[in-house]
């Protein structure tokens, strides 16, 4: 049963990767990375039990805590960018 769940998560990861490669805007890529991060947490939790190593859950915990920092950094980056180049558009 863990294997079935892990397979579904892996397929979703592949879909997210496709979205990241297709774009078209940079925000689609950020979205894909963020999605991929959540899926990674789920996959790590499931595989920790599939392999019978529940003491390795620390890794999933680390991702759950700090994975969104990257997205906040993107928001800060875009905010600074628009402030610096006000008038110029960035949404490609």
């Amino acid at each position: 049963m863990y294997a079935a769940t892990a397979t579904a998560i892996l397929v979703t990861m592949a879909l997210a990767l496709t979205r990241a490669l297709l774009g078209p805007t940079i925000y689609d890529r950020v979205l894909a990375v963020n999605m991929f991060g959540t899926k990674t947490v789920l996959l790590l939790s499931v595989i920790a039990f599939l392999n019978g190593r529940p003491d390795f859950l620390d890794l999933a915990l680390a991702y759950a805590l700090i994975n969104f920092i990257g997205v906040l950094a993107v928001l800060k980056f875009v905010q600074d960018y628009t402030m610096r180049h006000s008038g110029e558009e960035r949404g490609q």
Partner: protein
């Protein structure tokens, strides 16, 4: 024994339902027409899939340290995922990406 079986079935149902939502979210993120609808699909199913799958695994873990860690993971994900979605939507809006599909520039 039957209690154990009921627990197993419960956790399987939760994990399968979670897998379904996760997969649907992936399809939505790939197939929806523009950025904001894609984000909607991804972030909503992320939250539901997380709750279902992690609850399923918690049922399997029983009352152990692992279950507490999984619960903590769930709480943190439920806090961080919507925050990330908020930040992302804000960044896209700030950069002038329009929420109306017919005005969105770019190919697909």
């Amino acid at each position: 024994m039957t209690a154990g079986l009921a627990l197993d079935i419960g956790s399987w149902v939760l994990m399968l339902a979670g897998s379904f939502f996760v997969f649907v979210g992936g399809v939505g993120a790939l197939r929806m027409p523009d950025f904001y609808t894609r984000m909607h699909a991804a972030s909503l199913t992320d939250t539901l899939g997380t709750i279902l799958i992690l609850s399923g695994v918690i049922l399997q873990a029983g009352l152990t340290l692992a279950a507490i860690k999984l619960a903590a993971i769930m709480v943190f994900l439920l806090l961080t995922c919507p925050t990330a979605a908020y930040a992302l939507a804000n960044a896209a809006r700030l950069s002038g990406l329009s929420p109306r599909p017919e005005q969105t520039p770019g190919k697909d």
